[in-house]
Amino acid sequence: MTSLPPRPGSTTTQPLRPASPAPRTVQRSWAGVLRQELFASRGDGLVSVLLILLILASAVGLLRWAFGQAQWAVIQVNTTLFAVGRFPIEQQWRLWLLVVLVAALSGTSWGLLRAFPRADRSGELWPFNDRLAVALLGFLAAWLPAALALGFPLQLRWWAITGLLVAMRWIAGHWGRSWPPRLLKLVSLGWPLLYLFGMVLIAGGLGMSRVSPSNWGGLLLTLLMASFAILLSFPIGVVVALGRRSSLPLLRWSSVLYIEFIRGAPLITLLFLGQNILGYMLPGGWAPDRVWRAAWVLTFFCGAYLAEAVRAGLSAVPPGQLEAARSLGLSMPQALQRVVLPQALRIALPAAVGQFISLLQDTTLLSLIGLLDLLGTARTVMANPEFLGKNAEVYLTLAVLFWCCCAALGLGSRALERRLDPTHSPA
């Protein structure tokens, strides 16, 4: 039996093994797999032994460093700084409230996803992945606050928040089906409402005192900048992509100009533009402060790349779709909104999420223009004489954090792709 070559760009690595003539058997023993994978030939065996030695040596070295030499106090002492920067202590209850709301809403949405199975689900209420996720959450809630040496009251808070998430998942999963439609609508409206309310909680308003953006920092600033840019760049990307494919020359050329201007320059030079020139271009008093200027630069930056992703999606939709929609009597906006864009955006999804992941990573560039995002905070911490030379501990922690966030986004994107795939038959 020959396996088909993997599709270009597909994420599975299907080995092509033209040199091994042995036919594959369906059932193989554990040792047999090991033998074929690692010791198929003499050369393979040699490479395998070398690689195993190399991996063992690096693993031992890393573990000995992490549990022996490394001094993690730099992280433990500065947890609050890394999390929220210099957000005033007496106002931090607002952020806790936000975390609680996010946990409750996430749990509810998660449960409802399982309560109303779609094509890609078997309808199981607790699929294996979900049980795994809950176990992982439980482990994180138990281990992370302890590893960060948080005080007992703080540990208790994190346990309660995790408990809330899982409880909402359980409740919504079991009884979501019998909830009144009005409540369900409220949950789907919940995310945009929560985002707006979160902004108020962070920035102030509705009777809460104002917290200046210069006091936002750490993970809070990173997540805020990334989510702001991602949300606002999406409409920009769609509009500019439509403009670029428009038959009207003015729309087309202004879109092309915008996209090529942004894509031609490194992000750092655009941030430079935002910090040093934007102030001159706006009427006096209009110029937002440094944090928001950077946020807008990130938004327009991401918008241009997103436009290219959406454009690729648009060109993958057969022109007959638009023509059919138009001949059914739909107006141009209606045809785009109901027929073309849903198909185009589904095709553009992997590229768009890839763009969002790289935007999340690009927020680290804010530290180069003096903002205190996660990396900027890390650099100020390491400039503190008390923690001088703790580069390895801090950078490694940040790397793990970013890796987890980006990998999770990637996983989520793949799950969403499967969910939206119309050709997918239920398992």
């Binding site: 033209p18 040199a19 430079f272 040093n276 950078y395």
Partner: protein, 329 residues
């Protein structure tokens, strides 16, 4: 009857509507742009910083740590910017070559018959792609290279010495005699010394872009039908021979366009040099701005330089693309 047909409402008239849409969009763009530019001109005039290039001839009065062309602080700003551009080009060109080699090797390793090697290639790509480049650069510089030992304790291989003070390589000395690094009074000397900043930046860029290029190469190789492998094998070619002379030439058609965009992003990413203290174009521009306050001119120069670099890479890669396309008769 005819009358009702002719009376098309104007918003459904294809002769009218496109012009109205364009007029509205054009008007909005015109108003926004003229407001922005008007403010810019007014504010810059007020600050005495309106577009002028005369400052380029004034002495820069700052020093540059490393330079391929002669430079000292008494030389003018344009010379300093040129030094930065040359330094940028140096790291871009070396980085392109290194990232291509690494990426091709890793991309081919994804098809190895050795399962461990295949998985290791996967792990490398997944680790590198999910960590911000800036973080990686800082890691290479502060954690790896600045922690290296100096003097006699430095890592030594035949012809190569890696130490905290830089990378020392064997190269042709005067009179085309091959000369390796040697320790003189506790300090390494070699015909070719790369600063530790340059080495850290280069390592970071190569490992980062290498992961992306590996994905491009993997996609390219995967696009070659399995039958090609089987045909090559049945002709008696080894894995390496079939890869080299049957599969890769066909994969290149898919790989080259993907490489183009990776090369351009490597060139743009090289501007992060400023984080590890390598004096590239962006870094010189930043210093220049701090000294002269000429934000607009500096930005235009930066934008223009990177645009030209991008276009150059695209032009070369388009040429390469023409070469690797299948010519049928």
């Amino acid at each position: 009857m005819i009358n009702t047909l002719e009376r098309i409402p104007w918003w459904r008239d294809r002769r009218v509507m496109p012009w109205i849409v364009q007029a509205v969009v054009g008007l909005v763009l015109l108003v926004v742009i003229s407001l922005l530019v008007g403010n810019l001109v007014r504010n810059l005039t007020g600050a005495g910083l309106l577009l002028s290039w005369r400052w380029l001839g004034q002495p820069a009065s700052f020093d540059v740590a490393e330079s391929l062309i002669p430079f000292d602080a008494s030389m003018p700003y344009w010379r300093a910017l040129l030094v930065g551009l040359v330094n940028s080009l140096r790291v871009i060109v070396v980085g392109l070559v290194g990232a291509t080699l690494l990426g091709t090797a890793v991309g081919m390793a994804s098809f190895s018959s050795n399962g461990l090697l295949r998985r290791l290639a996967r792990v490398y790509v997944e680790v590198i792609r999910n960590i911000p480049l800036l973080l990686q650069l800082l890691f290479w510089y502060f954690v790896v290279f600045l922690a290296l030992p100096n003097g006699t304790a430095a890592f030594q291989l035949p012809g190569v010495v890696v130490s905290k003070s830089g990378l020392y390589l064997a190269w042709f000395a005067q009179g085309f005699s091959w000369q390796g690094p040697e320790l003189v009074n506790g300090v390494w000397q070699a015909p070719l010394r790369l600063s530790v900043e340059f080495t850290a930046l280069l390592t970071g860029l190569i490992t980062y872009s290498g992961a992306f290029i590996a994905e491009v190469v993997r996609g390219g190789i995967a696009s070659v039908p399995l039958g090609q492998w089987e045909a090559a094998t049945s002709l008696g070619l080894h894995w390496s021979a079939s890869m080299r002379s049957v599969v890769l030439p066909q994969a290149l058609r898919v790989i080259v366009p993907g490489l183009n965009s990776q090369y351009i992003s490597l060139a743009k990413n090289s501007a992060l040099a400023v984080a590890v203290g390598y004096v590239d174009l962006y870094s010189v521009s930043e210093t220049t701005l701090n000294q002269t306050g000429r934000a607009l001119e500096v930005f235009l120069l930066l934008l223009g330089s990177y645009l030209i670099i991008d276009l150059l890479i695209s032009a070369v890669m388009n040429g390469v693309n023409q070469l690797v396309q299948i010519r049928e008769r």
